[in-house]
Assembly symmetry: C2
Homo-oligomer: 422 residues x 2
């Protein structure tokens, strides 16, 4: 069929439409060839073996680019020189049944492991990219000035830059495995994904033979301090934080939550951990995972509605009603579903996190349940908690967040108040 | 139909299915009642008058919450106390034909202007939320320490916090208007949006009677320093930056681009502008618009692939090949489409930006073309450009970015080199 032919639009597809010519996917297969490539191309329908397409929600912008005449819809990515700067894996976790269900562990290496298929004309694209960067944060410069961090010329440079390996990871959902994580049947998951989004991707219900979905959502970014291969060695001390996006704090420093202070504290801890000398060499590794789940994956509009409801309720913003206000607006306290989060850790080969810079019991539980050993847990230092963020952190501590000992009771919670709106 | 009935799944809908009972939308109507509410609910199919659903890409997480049994799919948001802290508009721009096509200007005020319909049982949700916040940035504390900013107790507090009004804005696309902006027919736009996303929302092609689409993409956040109503008064000096998301720099301070330094410089300029005393009072206003368009709306995987291709090409990373490398991988230099960006400015009633803290000719052109007058343009100070970001900024200056005078020629461009990967 000609691209964008006005003559015929196929609204959905069905398994019975002729012989299937696209590569097969065997999700838990032991190597790339048996697993098979993920093909989400829009160039050639016959090659596709997934529901959805690449780039997460940016697929909509790609479509706009075609509509505007700026992008030739037949453009095929030239992947020259784009290969990962660092080889991640393969690790045994990649093919352990059900260990990874929401990303493609081979997604960074497609140009290498599927070179034959690409040469044969199949449009296979990376769903993961790995590069090197220098990062400069004012908080790290402050830590150097205060003597808490010392440049070593390798992990932390004299100008205050930290050297990282970083990876961007797009979501690739193996629907049978995702359903299992959430305790529902695959059929239920497919139907609910279709209906609760207002009818996105009918192939979710018509194509039970297509088991992989590239959802139009944000992905994850991984920042590694030290040697990425050390992540998979449980003997090398690993300092890690798994951080969920909060644009208002991460970028703009809103004082209603602890997100940026905890993140920059974690980066400081990761640098120190990666610098740690054992047996005379650089003996540690640090990791930050940043997940695009704004406002507990409720989105920023809901988040701001909840802020207003918290600050205007009778008695004002208080820790004892913190979760209730989110639930009234959103129907749930949280939609982040840490159940999928450990996948990225298994992609990196992680077996043990020696120092986890997080107080979240949901993150901790999800990691432990997925088989990762956790050593020490590092809470945010009290002096980094903004005044207006006490409401949130105290409410979370009462609800099961890790603490050094103190757990606020009902009376104490009611006494923790936030600022009003004016 | 019962929610999630296993008996029958409707793959798409057609205009002919019985009498339409949902509220009508007349996009450019002069007032809210004639315009009609946007109804993207998944609770009651008969009420819907749009394609897609609320919360942008987070609708997928909402579906997961239902699949996991954590969210009752019949939950209806309790909007008590969530109303905007500040009334934005209505402004004449809201109903000028084609002035706003990618957001709902009434989206913050639904609980007020559509109170009757909500009382009658229609599930109308805000697509915009407006709240107050205090923001604390290390760069602003540095500006105070250096004497460049002085706390005034109102806009900028003694502790370094700046007081803002902020709004989260979800995309609401009126398809006839979006098509016109991109110079294609509505039919083409609908078909391409459907096909180039791998078959998202067949209603794009089956329901030409539904003119509004809630796309599963990220939205915008607006930060206002000073009185939001002053934005609409061209006599009040307005300092503004329209910033496109770059997580690697905005949050992590990657030194390959100027994003965070330019953003924090703009916040400093906005504070100073909002503090400006005219006729004895606080006489200015500042605005930052933050748009979720990671990596020029190509997404972060593509961005990192391009970084590798730039740094590995023959001759290394150089300004004369800066755009070429993106084009080889992505097929275009940029997918941000500033054509839709001015909508948020018109929502705020803006007629004139006195100081635009941006060098982008694409943003400038889009604003001017949409009828906004621009006074001075403020480039990023040279001392804020990270060393490895010279490649990008010089390439952009040669390609049309605003400069104070110097425009690098081909030879000069070839001489601007970035760091290698090791």
């Amino acid at each position: 069929m000609t691209k964008h032919s006005p003559r015929h639009i196929r609204l959905t597809s069905h398994p019975g439409h002729g012989p299937r010519t696209s590569p097969e996917i065997h999700w838990d297969a032991p190597d790339a060839q048996h697993r098979g490539p993920i093909v989400g191309t829009t160039l050639n329908r016959a090659q596709r073996n997934v529901i959805g397409t690449h780039s997460g929600s940016y697929s909509v912008y790609r479509a706009l680019a075609v509509a505007a005449g700026a992008l030739d819809p037949t453009h095929r990515a030239d992947l020259t020189n784009t290969a990962p700067t660092d080889l991640i894996g393969p690790y045994p976790q990649w093919s352990e049944p059900g260990r990874i269900v929401s990303l493609d562990p081979w997604g960074a290496a497609v140009a290498d492991v599927f070179a034959d298929q690409i040469a044969a004309g199949i449009d296979i694209r990376p769903t993961i990219a790995v590069t090197k960067a220098h990062i400069e944060l004012p908080e790290i410069r402050d830590a150097i000035a205060a003597g808490r961090l010392k440049p070593d010329g390798k992990i932390l440079l004299d100008n205050g830059s930290a050297c990282v390996t970083k990876a961007a990871v797009e979501p690739v959902w193996w629907l049978p495995g995702v359903a299992k994580r959430f305790g529902c049947t695959e059929t239920e998951l497919r139907r609910i994904l279709f209906e609760e989004t207002g009818g996105m991707y009918p192939e979710l219900v018509t194509r039970s033979d297509l088991e992989v979905f590239l959802p139009p959502i944000g992905g994850q970014t991984v920042y590694i301090l030290g040697n990425p291969r050390d992540l998979a060695n449980p003997e090398v001390p690993l300092t890690a934080r798994v951080h969920d996006e909060c644009n208002g704090s991460d970028v703009f420093g809103s004082d209603i939550c602890t997100c940026r202070p905890y993140l920059t504290h974690a980066i400081e801890e990761c640098i120190r951990g990666a610098q740690a000398t054992e047996a005379g060499g650089l003996g540690g590794v640090g990791l930050i995972v940043y997940s695009r789940k704004e406002g507990r994956a409720l989105g920023e509009v809901t988040k701001f509605l909840v802020y207003n409801a918290r600050k205007r309720q009778v008695g004002g913003d208080s820790a004892d009603k913190y979760f209730l206000r989110t639930e009234c607006v959103a129907g749930v306290q949280d939609m982040r579903f840490q159940e999928l989060m450990p996948d990225v850790l298994h992609w990196l080969g992680i077996r043990k996190i020696h120092r986890l810079v997080s107080m979240s019991n949901m993150k901790f539980d999800a990691m432990v349940e997925s088989g990762i050993e956790i050593g020490e847990r590092v809470p945010i230092p009290d002096d980094l908690i903004p005044a207006d963020a006490k409401v949130e952190i105290e409410a979370k501590m009462a609800a099961g967040y890790f603490t050094d000992g103190r757990v606020p009771d009902g009376e104490a919670l009611a006494a923790v108040k936030g600022r009003g709106l004016e």
